[in-house]
Subunit: 386 residues, 2 copies
């Protein structure tokens, strides 16, 4: 039996948008409700995934704030936070609420309005997702964390500058097929490799995901009720979450995130499948190296072979195992609290066969991987077309 | 069948404490784990209720941060936020996780470190729980919101200055019996009534709850497993949550919080009991008027009779229906994210017969009521001695 089934999805475009935080939420949620054929009165519970609305927009108590704007009076409304994994944690709480038998139809929204602050301010807010006293004050913001990961991966496995670049080039190409993606710009491998705008060596500006505004939404229901609502049913068949070391320096090795491995193991076990059953995945490519590490940790490629797979185009749409058909955090954009829900929306869109020019053929099972902080929070969800 | 059972509780003292945020969490969680006879390895999932750690201590991604410090590596760890109701929302998510059948033993911690900021800074952070653009910028911080409620309650029902004062006097008296309470000071009715240090008329400094540091914790387990762990079993038999209007000005009437009424209705229905089955309650007395309104909304007293009941000592320990035996937010203290869990810890302590000098005789069923913002989020939990 599935954990929950998806009856509606919606998403704003990701990008630097004129919409306010609440307008983003209303747009995504309304699209999902319309897609499900439901109104606010049909919703039993509401979960909002958001990382740092209080810092970005000066407003807190955000689930209630959004519920009021969405006309969800009376509906239990709860905000869930787990850094960049906030969105997928909200999905998990919705799953628990449904599987508990206490609720039938649950709305999940992930949202973040980041462009309200200048870039330096955004970096400061994001840095609060890692250990502020012990790491950030020593200069270890996230680009630096993932630069360490990249350096170590290159040293241990011989991962190359070209392999990192291949991830960026592919995800930009995918985003060009996604009208809701933030970045709409083709880039060339040689331009990425020769870029001298270094962020944290070896990561240059092409290796980094984007600061974006956006919201994504889905409506989940109890699996046994789904056929009352729609015929093209997508089930969530696995959900794994794990905590890793909060401080990156406590990890024995930087070339793998133990919490990703554990979350994946749990999700695969729940779904009763192996990694080779996955047709495509949306993974947490906050930096190019993060996609390479994720595809290894998720069991798609052996350790050290993620970069090779990217450079050999196995992870492109049309390749053996398409990764981030949406464009990923790198090019679709990364409105932090929205990302985990947005990944789900892309997977569901693909499984329904509604992905247009970026449609993956015969996609039956898709996976999402969402990572918070320096691997402190990881989640894996597995979706299947019924 | 109960929703979940309680096998461990713990709490720091509430007050202006030297401990850091993480030290507070470690103290409360360790006490709860020891009480349950469990170690970190026995915990399947962890929920942290916290309102605004990022603003108060400059650190976010707080569930992972705490999990790492608690030795909960690998354990799914999720922060839940609902303003002043954050703690009780964390309890609810733990209930769902258990009732889903996916987890057996779940640790819940509520925590807030508020004294890291000066009072004006705290007021600014708290104000983000109400509508910042439309209300706070117009001067409507929480003391002002509850002053409006008090004014209207006095106008409509004839509630008096003395009745408000009686709540404060009683809760100070109760706190004197609670070694973990923030405020340890007897006050007199006439001093409260004649106080000229006005906060927002008619509320003076004695009508307001405290800015406190603190953490409280509980370990929940599946009801069918509880007897493996302990013989003095407390069950959670009802849990209700509701959203109200986020903006106070959208409410038709200020003398009642519709979300409290709805949450209570849901909890009573789930527990299959009426309000008169409740032996005592911990309610959200962020201001004296809030306790009066809560005792009416929860069905303990008729509208307009809550103040009379307080003045006639019906709500004292030893009275007909003791309210806030712990001292309440008013005198035990109000470390925002901790409060909802702390209310539960008090109720469980009473039901176990471990409340010492403040023990309520023959207590079998206790209720907690936790309110976030201007009534935007309300929860009610009902606990029963098995």
């Amino acid at each position: 039996m599935a954990l929950a089934s998806v009856i509606g999805i919606g998403s704003t475009r990701y990008g630097i948008l004129p919409s306010s935080f609440i307008e983003l939420i209303i747009e995504a949620a309304t699209e999902a409700l319309v897609d499900a054929g439901l109104g606010p009165d049909d919703i039993d519970a509401f979960y909002l995934g958001n990382f740092a609305g209080d810092a970005f927009i000066g407003q807190n108590h955000l689930a209630s704030y959004a519920a009021s704007a969405l006309g969800l009076q009376g509906v239990p409304s709860t905000r869930v936070e787990g850094a960049c994994a906030s969105g997928s944690l909200a999905i998990r709480e919705a799953i628990f609420a449904i599987k508990s038998g206490l609720y039938k139809r649950v709305l999940v929204v992930g949202a973040e309005k980041m462009s309200s602050l200048p870039t330096a301010g955004v970096t400061g807010v994001l840095a609060q997702a890692s250990h502020f006293e012990l790491e950030v004050k020593a200069g270890l913001t996230f680009p630096a964390v993932f630069a360490l990961v990249a350096q170590r991966h290159m040293h241990r496995y011989g991962t190359t500058r070209e392999q990192l670049a291949a991830v960026a080039v592919k995800n930009h190409d995918h985003a060009l097929l996604n009208p809701k993606a933030h970045m709409q710009k083709k880039i060339k491998l040689e331009d990425v490799c020769s870029c001298t705008t270094m962020v944290a060596e070896p990561l240059n500006r092409f290796d980094c995901s984007l600061i974006s505004d956006g919201a994504s939404a889905m409506v989940l229901c109890a699996p046994e009720l789904v056929e009352d609502y729609r015929s093209d049913v997508i089930d969530i068949i696995g959900s794994g979450q794990a905590s890793g070391q909060f401080e990156i320096f406590l990890n024995e090795e930087l070339t793998s995130f133990p919490a990703t491995r554990l979350a994946a193991e749990r999700a695969y076990q729940m779904a009763k499948i192996e990694p080779n059953a996955i047709d495509f995945a949306e993974v947490h490519d906050c930096f190019t190296i993060a996609e390479i590490v994720a595809t290894e940790d998720l069991g798609f490629f052996k350790p050290g072979e993620g970069g090779i797979a990217a450079l050999e185009d196995h992870t492109r749409i049309g390749g053996r195992l398409p990764i981030n058909p949406s464009g990923g955090l790198k090019a679709k954009g990364h409105p932090v609290g929205s990302t985990g829900v947005g990944q789900g929306v892309e997977v569901i869109t693909q499984l329904r066969g509604q992905a247009g020019n970026r449609q993956i053929k015969n996609a039956k099972i898709g996976l999402t991987h969402n990572l918070g902080g320096s691997g402190g929070t990881c989640t894996v969800h597995i979706y299947q077309r019924r």
